[in-house]
Every structure is written in structure tokens, then in C-alpha cells.
Symmetry: C2
Subunit: 347 residues, 2 copies
DNA sequence: CGGTACCGTTGGATCGATCCAAACAATTCA
DNA sequence: TGAATTGTTTGGATCGATCCAACGGTACCG
């Protein structure tokens, strides 16, 4: 079999390039080649040029496993695949994170776990066998023990989501849900609404509580009645039932929902009652998923690309120079995307 | 610092267990320990017992990078994160695949690529630097060059999706969309429908063509009019417009859609015209996403857990014994989940 | 002119598992 | 009993990159 041209797919080259072969071609030692790659400053310019040329000519790519064996650094981050994250948000985040990590030369390795305890049990294997450099955790919640476990073990991690109880000795990135629902409320008020309800999740702590608080605060600040929220687990069927209850009990002209899925349920209920979404009752969702676009649903969009790039940046920093500085926290604002569900004329 | 108890998190143990330390404890050579793990049959029972005990006592876990350096096997599979797969299907597949691969001691590593060419360009780096053992490809389509590229390079791969043109020299797993839409059509006929339309994607080859063919075949076989399908790119807005066009042009009493997203658009249009979905016009979607559950949309559910476990099994087999046997192909049937959108009384 | 300092470079040991060939033990057969 | 056979176990080299200690060379200083 002949070499089929170039180092595009190393597997086919007659012999894959190694530090040694590059060194031989450049007429220097292996160590110098390594230095050119890892600590360019200590190498003389002219030497560096020769080595760089040799690297290019051979299409040399450092072999991770070899490096990893010596340094105990894998350049791989662990990410748990959630069964159902906040709906359709997870896969967009996944894509953005893979990109952002890749830009810093990190890769994402997936794992699953039925619950947090199982996840914690899985860490040992992922660290011992695979040398993961760190974890990106999503879906933080009150009582979350994962971060304290990891930081105690000295393993770098970032969370997408604030720590809801401990003081947060790790870096995190989050989206300010309260500001989002505050914006949504303000928008509805400016459209003339006076009875604005909230359709949330059963759990009033964590993310759900945050989104609820923004609505409640703004409604109260405007001197409007704070209608008791209705609650449902995050699927459209329960959302619809809870919306029905909310409509019957509080007679609102607008409903802000903790998620698009709940909003979908609410819209279904409103339509089923022969009313028009946006005209008789305004609805605003959260997450700006496909659902929103179809249904003409106003919704709060999370800046997932930014969340991902900050996450990658923070964990890379933590891995590369474990500093004593206080960890950085990033809180981003969602964007209100206005569609027909909150702007059609009403009354 | 003292050893904080047990090998749960190896990083903290005073010294991590290696083949050597296990061998010393068991009073055998490193090679024998390795044999116990990798080729148990050639080791005497009593020796194996001693070694196994030592492994347990030290909480030994083989270090992948070391093994990988020697064997060129990483036990890692590459998977491209699609921006938008067939909606909400991807993240469920991802979860199932991570699980299924994990059960065979493989891990999933993600990568992104804007298009197929970029993906092919990315293979080199993933193979050379990371030693990926193989790829799980999704979203196959006519003209797909990824599989031929990989098989030419001798890299194992499985596809979720049939090869739509080449003869398929690689194993694949797919869901029989035509059978699905055939079942859906039959179901509608049994509900008394005579004018059954189809709302599909612009591209009539590949997945979309398959789903369309099932509908067309069954309608024709029943001696009913084959109404010219309407087509739209896969989002609800275009789906709604295309549904409007279909309703105007062919006056159907039922519509089968190539996806739930399109079905959502269709339902929106039907409601907007003051008609009731299921009563005046039946709708059936594809993928059985959350959308279906809320909207009471009948839909074809893909058996993603099975797809994932077959995919994992097939690629693992290919990696572990690259045989000359013809590659295995698995075609699974979707399940028709019947809801109100296709059963409410009509006429 | 010898000594200290620094800079760039080098050889060799090392990470932890697996490959291979050779050594050893147990069993069979002439 | 000795030789041939089969079955287990072992030492040492190896994968490819990085760590570390030591090297020769140039510059500067007293």
C-alpha cells in the first residue's frame, strides 16, 4: 500500500509523525521540538523556525495519550447528558459548549447518571481512568452536593446555573431569570395589562423561584395585584391544567410562564376556551424554543453561546492555573423576543 | 494529608493503584495482572483469584491513556453535535447512545462541524490526536461522502440512517419511516378518511422521501386519490404556510406530516381557520416529541433506545474484530401513538 | 584570565499498560 | 526415565510525550 498523499488522515501515512521524526528532520532533539510547542519563548527564533517548518512538512500532531500519560492532563471535560434539561435548551447549549471548548483545544466527553448520587459515584471512574480535567455541571439546584464534592476533591468545575445555597467557591455562569421575567412583566404593563398571572414550577426555589421572583417584584412595584401563581411540572399537559386553574381562579389578562412548554399548555387551554392568545389573553414563555417561533409566542431567549464560551473560558483558566483568586461569576441577561402572543390588541 | 478513605476518588489516595502495585500485592508479575483483566482464560484459576482480590483491595482502575498509548485503542467514539437534527430527537438519541456505549465501556466524545466537508476535515485531527476508535454518524443523506471517506481510511463507523445511495459497506441502524407513514395512513383510512394529504420536506430523497413513499403507497393501494403533497423546510412557520396551501389546494380531511414541527404548523393553521383539529381535520406527526403530547397530536415514535443500543453494539463489534463478514443492517419499526388529533369524530 | 551567570539545547529516565519472546512448570508420550 | 508437549508466568522493550539534571557556549565581572 502506498502513501495516499499528505498527512490529512495520519492513519494512512507510511509512518505517523512523532516528536522524534520531527526532531530528526529539523536536526534538533525531541525536547527542543516539545519546547517549540509548549514553551516557545525559551527557544531561539531561528531554531523555532526550522522546527515549525518540519512540523508543517510532516503534518505532525502531538499525540494526546502520550502527553496525558506524563502530565495527567487530558484536555477533556465531562458533561452529563440530562434526560430532560429545561427543554430544547440543552442541545443548543451542548453545541455551543462543544464549539467553545474546542476553540480552547478541549473536548467534551459525555456521561449519564440517573441522579446526583449516581453522578458523584461516577466521578471516580471518570477521573481515574479517563483523567478528565474538569466538569461542566448543569441544572444546579438547592441542596446540590456535586460542586462541594468536586471542590473538596480538588477537581475543577464550572456550573451553568448559580449555586442556590452554598456560597459558591467555584466559578459559575448563569442567566438572570428574574431580570427576564421583570422585563416581560414591564412589557405587559406597557401593553396595558393590569392582571398579570404567573404559571410556574412546583419548586419555588432555584431557577423557578428566580423567575417567579422577577415577576412578583415587578408586579408589586407597579402597584398591581400579585395574583397567586399556579404551578405545574414542566410538561405541556400539566401546564395546560394549571393554566386552566389559574384562569378560573384569578381571571388574568396575561400569563408569564416559567418555560415555553408551560406556555404551550397555556396557549392550548386558552384556544380551547375559544379565546385568542394575544387578543384576550397574552402569554409569554421562557427559552425561545422552536415552539415560540411557531406559536407566535413571546419568549425570553437565553444567550447560550455566551454562557458556553464563558463556561469554557472559566474552567480552562481553573485547569491551567489553579489560582487562589476568588472564582469569577458571570450573570447574563436574557433577551425578550416579542411576538404576537403579547402584542395583539386586547379588551 | 492523610488518605481519606478508600479508592472512591483515586486522586486523593496516597498513591494511585497501578498494574505494578496490584502485582506486588498479589505476588505476581505485572503481565499476569494484565492477563487476568484482558485474557482471563490463560490464567490459572487460583492465581486469578489472588489477583482479583488485590485489584479489589486497592480499588485499581486501569489507566486508559497508558493502554491507549500502546494499543492505539481509546475506547472513545466520535459524535457530531448537529445544530438541529430532526428536532428533539437528537438529545434523546444522545442520552440513549451515551448509555448504550457506556454499557460496553465506550465513551462518547463530541465535535461540531458546520457541514460535511468540515466534518471530513475534522476526522484527521480526531483520529491522529485523540485516537478515536470510530464514529457514529447521524443525518445520512443522498450524496453523503462521510462514510465512504471513513471506510476508505479504514475507520470504523455506524450510521443512524440508511445510506441513501451507495450500497452501504458499513453497518447501519435506521427507523423504517415508510412503514410508519403506511401505518398512519391505514389508521386514518380506518377512521373513515378518504382524502389524506401529506405535508413533507422540500427534499424528496432520503428520510423525507421515505416517509412520503409510505403514505403514497398506502393511499394508492387503497384506491384513494394521491393528493399532491405540500412541502416546507422543517420549522413550524413554513409548515403552517405549506399546510395552508395544502388545505386550499386539495381540501383534505387528514394530513400526515414528515415531522411534529410541521404538524404543529399544520395544527396552528387549522385552528386559525376556526376548525378543530381531529374533528374537521385529522393530523399525524412524526417523532412523538413533547409537542405531540401537549397538542394531543398522534405521532410516530422512533425507538431511539433500540437504535442506540444497536448502534453501539455494531460499532463495538467492528472495532473489536474487524471481520470480513458483510456488515449488519438493522431496520426498526416506529410506533404509532394515537391521540386526539386523529380520532375525534368527524363529518 | 578564571569564575559566575545565564541561555539554549540535550540525553536519559519516566508515566502505566501491552507486546513479545523466553523461562518455567505441569502433563503427556515413547 | 527422558523427551516432547502443553500450559502459565515472567522480564524487558515499547508506545510518544514530558520531566529533570546536566551540558556547552557566550557574556559579563572582578
Amino acid at each position: 500500500m502506498t502513501d495516499d498523499g499528505g498527512p490529512v488522515l495520519g492513519r494512512h501515512a507510511s509512518a505517523r509523525a512523532t516528536l522524534g521524526s520531527v526532531a530528526a528532520l529539523a536536526g534538533v532533539s525531541k525536547q527542543t521540538v516539545s519546547n517549540v510547542i509548549n514553551s516557545p519563548r525559551i527557544v531561539r527564533d531561528e531554531t523555532a523556525r526550522r522546527v515549525t517548518a518540519a512540523i508543517a512538512e510532516l503534518g505532525y500532531r502531538p499525540h494526546r495519550a502520550a502527553s496525558q500519560l506524563r502530565t495527567r492532563r487530558s484536555r477533556v471535560l465531562g458533561l452529563r447528558v440530562q434526560n430532560r434539561f429545561t427543554d430544547a435548551v440543552f442541545d443548543r447549549f451542548l453545541h455551543a459548549l462543544t464549539d467553545a471548548a474546542g476553540a480552547l483545544d478541549y473536548r467534551i466527553m459525555l456521561y449519564t447518571a440517573p441522579d446526583d448520587d449516581a453522578e458523584i459515584r461516577a466521578y471516580g471512574e471518570l477521573l481515574d481512568r479517563w483523567d478528565l480535567d474538569g466538569f461542566v455541571l448543569t441544572g444546579t439546584h438547592p441542596g446540590d452536593e456535586r460542586t462541594s464534592y468536586l471542590s473538596q476533591a480538588g477537581v475543577p468545575c464550572v456550573t451553568f446555573g448559580r449555586p442556590w445555597d452554598d456560597s459558591g467557591h467555584h466559578p459559575w455562569v448563569d442567566v438572570d431569570g428574574a431580570s427576564g421575567t421583570r422585563m416581560a412583566t414591564q412589557h405587559l404593563i406597557s401593553q396595558g395589562h393590569r392582571r398579570i398571572g404567573f404559571l410556574g414550577w412546583p419548586d419555588s426555589s432555584g431557577v423557578g423561584g428566580d423567575r417567579l421572583a422577577g415577576w412578583a417584584g415587578q408586579v408589586k412595584a407597579a402597584g398591581l395585584p400579585v395574583l397567586l401563581p399556579s404551578r405545574a411540572v414542566n410538561d405541556a399537559v400539566h401546564g395546560r391544567a394549571a393554566a386552566a386553574e389559574l384562569l378560573d381562579r384569578t381571571d388574568p389578562t396575561a400569563i408569564i410562564c416559567a418555560s415555553d412548554v408551560l406556555a404551550l399548555g397555556a396557549m392550548a387551554e386558552i384556544s380551547a376556551r375559544g379565546m385568542k392568545v394575544g387578543e384576550q389573553i397574552a402569554v409569554i414563555g421562557f427559552d425561545d424554543t422552536d415552539i415560540s417561533e411557531v406559536g407566535g409566542l413571546s419568549s425570553l431567549a437565553q444567550p447560550l453561546v455566551e454562557v458556553a464560551s464563558h463556561s469554557a473560558r472559566l474552567i480552562a483558566a481553573l485547569i491551567e492555573k489553579p489560582s487562589a483568586d476568588p472564582p469569577e461569576h458571570v450573570l447574563l441577561l436574557p433577551t425578550l423576543v416579542i411576538r404576537g402572543s403579547s402584542t395583539a390588541v386586547h379588551h
